[in-house]
Symmetry: none
Subunit: 215 residues, 4 copies
Amino acid sequence: MPMHRFPDHLLKGHANFMAGRYAREKDRIRDLASEGQKPSTMIIACCDSRAAPEMIFDAGPGELFVLRNVANLVPTYQPDAGQHGTSAAIEFAVKALGIANIVVMGHGRCGGIKAALDAKFSPLDEGDFIGKWMSMLGDLPEQLGQNTLLTDGERQRAMERISIRNSIRNLRTFPYVAELEAAGNLQVHGAWFDISTGELWVMDSDSGDFVRPEI
Amino acid sequence: MPMHRFPDHLLKGHANFMAGRYAREKDRIRDLASEGQKPSTMIIACCDSRAAPEMIFDAGPGELFVLRNVANLVPTYQPDAGQHGTSAAIEFAVKALGIANIVVMGHGRCGGIKAALDAKFSPLDEGDFIGKWMSMLGDLPEQLGQNTLLTDGERQRAMERISIRNSIRNLRTFPYVAELEAAGNLQVHGAWFDISTGELWVMDSDSGDFVRPEI
Amino acid sequence: MPMHRFPDHLLKGHANFMAGRYAREKDRIRDLASEGQKPSTMIIACCDSRAAPEMIFDAGPGELFVLRNVANLVPTYQPDAGQHGTSAAIEFAVKALGIANIVVMGHGRCGGIKAALDAKFSPLDEGDFIGKWMSMLGDLPEQLGQNTLLTDGERQRAMERISIRNSIRNLRTFPYVAELEAAGNLQVHGAWFDISTGELWVMDSDSGDFVRPEI
Amino acid sequence: MPMHRFPDHLLKGHANFMAGRYAREKDRIRDLASEGQKPSTMIIACCDSRAAPEMIFDAGPGELFVLRNVANLVPTYQPDAGQHGTSAAIEFAVKALGIANIVVMGHGRCGGIKAALDAKFSPLDEGDFIGKWMSMLGDLPEQLGQNTLLTDGERQRAMERISIRNSIRNLRTFPYVAELEAAGNLQVHGAWFDISTGELWVMDSDSGDFVRPEI
């Protein structure tokens, strides 16, 4: 383990945080620490550096409980011996924190979705973790076909949205999610963020279509 | 699936984003979209609503590739048939994005760590996902003992830091992480964020101790 | 007994004292001599050359009644035939001087605590005084475990704080300490001094945690 | 255990230390922390609030290893099962730190010496710790007699100096002290501080007389 210094750009960024937001919101931040977090909303988002939920929703400390994995996937409920990180976060949010909203948020030009659509996951090896992780989508990528009149961009965006609906479907296989939703105590939402225009598209809970909301 | 509206507080937050950061950084954000992300740093952080990496490091779009799971755990390298979300994100960051730094960042008053230290994961059921997920720590919580003169707060903080070192140890079982680190092309860091004081403590790469850096 | 001169550095230091503080505070110092000491606070501290209570608290003559032994230990109340120096000082402070506060103050990188954590008290012999003195901690060092993911520095700091709480617990076995404290006429405090950063951490009287006070 | 705040006068004193001495000597203090203490001198002094060795010798951090008990007493070498705090400190100073000088420093108007001279240790109870602790002086107080032409002040001062010589005699019963002193590698000194005039009287190593040194 070679010795090294912590990255300077992170130290400088943290100094900015202390001088800026922390200084301005110190009282609220300290209260959140002593009283515990009570976020009303969980966001299931992607690791992509261009799609941070706190940026997109201009959210401050204590507001969003955020799970981020590659391509914002949710597996089905599998209460076996495995160590399921995404399921653990959902369970914690719903059962320990009493979250009122879960938002599955995808975004444009998602590298994980692109990998799922590519025949080969280059530059990643076969039998890799990304390949297995994206296989959670099953044969959905194949179903989209290789229609030559659907552009690559359109296939990508279609898959990004299909994937969100797939995650939401899987989310509802968790018994407590289904029960709380049926009782009106939990809402499940879909959202898609355009990393270029900054637009947020939200999923119509009835039709499953993605639309730009009017405020 | 009951009909419902997308949460208003998220829509308002997004409107703030569009009028604020997006308006100011539009050119850079569009370039990032068209040219692709090239973050130099991956952060492996917790889902906690009080510990968003982008806030702590005052980071903008394109800077941080962020994985967030409960208690910022990293499993050992297990190239089996399982769908390993955390491993997939690490693989994507290292092999597809060519990340130069990986930071495992824990934080104070972590609910996942608290669950690992508690005999029973109340209010979660036995055999739950959180229990299995936190079992990645093995017998480390037991090793800390139940010393009655160690306060609950001290046991918690010690475990938070042990857990970071454990994640870093596991990270190094990924062959490409070990190889790139040995070649000097990748650095692995530990950090711990104090959600009350806002302080960042960074891990000394030699001793493993956490210290407040001087800039 | 060979002849020798009193160390020059001490004589020069004393000359500085006479020309400096004594010259400035002569009246007060003489009054203290003729009227007797009436310190409100007793400090139980370590012999370490880097942790003088008068320096840490910027205290002048007459302010602090100071006991210093290795690792600021307090034994339990043992009214036997033994010559208990620490107990004698506590008794004198409480019963003859009517002290209002007792502070047990530990510090970082304490050599006595290090000896208690080491299997062997090298370079000291077995059966030595340090070994027996530090045995006042009982099996507390063992209880901390030999967790390989707890760094040496962290074990040391944890033990330093455990030891302070142990001393405070023992202090309360003195009947007059317990009685006066219950009546609200005596307060018992814990403190830990960071010999590197200069910070003082004080013990929360409720949780036993050490925190940096806000003034 | 009632809740309470750490004494304000100590917090203010510490803030003064941080803004003053610590700010000025930060580099040296940090070096002392990382490199370890290497004091050349041990002072065995009294707990009296008017006789702090660091004040009297204008000494900074790292200079003096300081043991303070009531009346600066040193017991004889008793390698039994007891927990001897003073002996532990002497052992640590000589064997672990390699101290070059030990100074036994008494002072005027010492409450412990006064207690030893009084028939009854009022306001302390019989069978108390102070009585047993001062009994280390054996029949020395009685030997001084109750000569009516020796004033109380003279008896007190004589006893203070007798006690220093007694402590030095006992110190030499420690085999390593005697050996190192014979080899010229350790010097043992006596000193007496006048808490009213600020004068330091040092013991002539040959005659045992206390004289004011010329610099």
